[in-house]
């Protein structure tokens, strides 16, 4: 019973982090067809900004999330204006952007390595200890992580479904040409999507690094897992991706408990490969009509 509880709590936490990751990735994939391999960079930027705010600036913990979010938004803006903007109109965009964002991920990691050094640090944005349910300790940080993730999911959902910005992003993701013909500034919509994705990725970065550690390559793990979760759900399907994030998070933790830590990711990957053989567009994905 205790093990079950422990697994559930860990699984939910991990799932929550993946869920936020899939939000950011789906947003960009859906609106622009952009697979952002630099997502890990946003996570790292968020984590380091949080650390910097509390340690170097000596700021109050209340400021951490908003400032990290801001840093992420700036990074998203920079990514659009310095790189994506020039590549969007060209053919093979979906492949080229993967290559470029892989390069950018490395660039960010390298920069952080030079600025902050390679050693892993503790993320100070952390609530110590927790409470007990029977024999299992539920860390307060876990609850905070879940709460933050939930808030962000609600925030993104509200933005996408209720605001004009979200309305426009949805239109652009459903039919970019039609959106242009309505007078919608599609470039602006992309910028907004990248800014939003950057912001939430950075905030999730603060939480991720508080659960693990803070080091330059911290974002890669979450990125690749969030990606394969998006794919198994069906790229572009946000509710599906959120669901699969928790399902796969639980799956990974269970495998780790039963077989050992090292088998978590490979098992997750194996599951995704198998599911994709059966349903290549993802569990909830729709087969898209490709016009020749």
């Amino acid at each position: 019973m205790d093990t079950f509880l422990q697994i559930t709590i860990s699984g939910l936490t991990v799932g929550a982090m993946y869920a936020v990751g899939t939000l950011a990735l789906s947003l960009l994939w859906g609106s622009m067809g952009m697979l952002n391999m630099a997502h890990g960079g946003f996570i790292a930027i968020g984590g380091y900004t949080g650390y910097w705010v509390m340690t170097v600036l000596g700021g109050h913990w209340l400021f951490v999330l908003p400032i990290a979010g801001l840093a992420g938004m700036l990074a998203g803006y920079a990514l659009y204006h310095l790189v994506v903007r020039w590549m969007y109109e060209r053919e093979d965009f979906s492949v080229n952007i993967i290559i470029v964002t892989v390069a950018i991920a490395s660039l960010v990691e390298n920069s952080l390595l030079n600025i902050a050094g390679p050693s892993a640090m503790r993320q100070p944005f952390k609530i110590p200890s927790g409470f007990k349910i029977s024999d299992v300790v539920v860390p307060y940080q876990t609850l905070l992580t879940l709460a933050v993730a939930l808030v962000m999911m609600v925030l993104v959902s509200w933005t996408v479904n209720r605001t004009k910005v979200g309305y426009v992003i949805r239109a652009v993701s459903q039919n970019k040409d039609a959106a242009l013909l309505m007078g919608i500034n599609v470039q602006l919509a992309f910028t907004q999507a990248l800014v939003l994705a950057g912001g939430i990725a950075a905030i999730s970065g603060v939480m991720v690094t508080s659960m693990t550690q803070l080091f330059p390559a911290v974002g890669y793990d979450t990125t690749i897992k969030s990606f394969i979760i998006c794919i198994i759900a069906g790229l572009g399907n946000i509710p599906g991706a959120l669901t699969m994030a928790f399902v796969l998070g639980m799956f990974e933790i269970t495998v780790q408990y039963v077989f050992g830590q090292r088998y978590g990711f490979p098992a997750m990957l194996g599951l995704v490969v198998l599911v994709l053989i059966w349903r290549p567009h993802g569990v909830f994905g729709k087969a898209t009509v490709n016009r020749v």
Binding site: Y167, V168, R170, A171, Q174, N175, D177, A178, A179, L180, L181, M182, G183, I184, N185, V186, Q187
Partner: protein, 238 residues
């Protein structure tokens, strides 16, 4: 000589290395309906897409109400008064009819104006009003066409370009669509219509251009076209 709402000078463009349009020139006088017809695959849709900015222009000029727009990004051309109702409708599949229409009115200056336009569209297309909260992806071909045109009406510009309004529709629905187009002349008097079926076009157009292989090989009044069956035979096998 009434002023031309849309004027194209020596337009040349294509896709990649392949040239599709060769040195095209045309003029759409204000308040008139101009048609473009010709065999499929010869560049009619490419022309409209070049005018609205979905396809970049290699050389030549496009004047909308006197302003050169060929360098402008597509979304600003809409602001200048150009409405393009594209081939294939290009509706937003996961939104309702009403949401689609509201997006059509994206540039409307006020909420009141938006509502006013919405009412006009619903008057033209009562079917759309009935199904206003239905998902666009569930619509039939005729309903999609109506939605496309309705959306264009919401955008409400100086000139409206329609690309193949009768494509893939049953004759009765085409009748309805062309009734609407005829009725459009009161609210949106300047129209440019691409239509593969010259008969339909003759019923609404004042002036018709014949396109073959990306070039205009003939232009004249609708009556002239009606009279010369040879012309129709050569290019359209009519």
């Amino acid at each position: 000589m009434s002023k031309s709402m849309l004027k194209i000078d020596n337009l040349t463009t294509g896709y990649g290395q392949r040239q599709v349009l060769h040195d095209l020139s045309l003029s759409v006088p204000e308040g008139s309906v101009v048609g473009i017809t010709g065999p499929n695959g010869h560049g009619k849709t490419t022309l409209l897409r070049a005018i609205s900015g979905l396809v970049p222009v290699w050389s030549g000029q496009i004047f909308l109400n006197g302003t050169a727009i060929q360098e402008m990004p597509a979304y600003t051309r809409v602001n200048q008064g150009l409405v393009h109702i594209p081939q294939g409708d290009l509706i937003f599949p996961d939104m309702t009819i009403e949401e689609n229409l509201i997006l059509g009115g994206y540039l409307a200056p006020s909420g009141d104006e938006l509502n006013r336009r919405l009412e006009t569209v619903y008057d033209f297309f009562p079917r759309l009003f009935e199904r206003s909260s239905q998902q666009a992806r569930t619509l039939s071909g005729g309903e999609r066409r109506m939605l496309g045109i309705g959306r264009g009406l919401m955008t409400s510009g100086e000139i409206m370009m329609l690309d193949e309004p009768s494509l893939g529709l049953a004759p009765k629905i085409i009748d309805h669509i062309y009734e609407v187009i005829a009725g459009l002349r009161t609210s949106s008097p300047t129209l440019l219509i691409v239509e593969e079926n010259p008969t339909r076009l003759q019923s609404v157009a004042d002036w018709i251009y014949l396109m073959d292989d990306g070039a205009f090989v003939w232009n004249g009044s609708a009556d002239e076209l009606k009279e010369s069956s040879d012309l129709l035979n050569t290019y359209l096998g009519a």
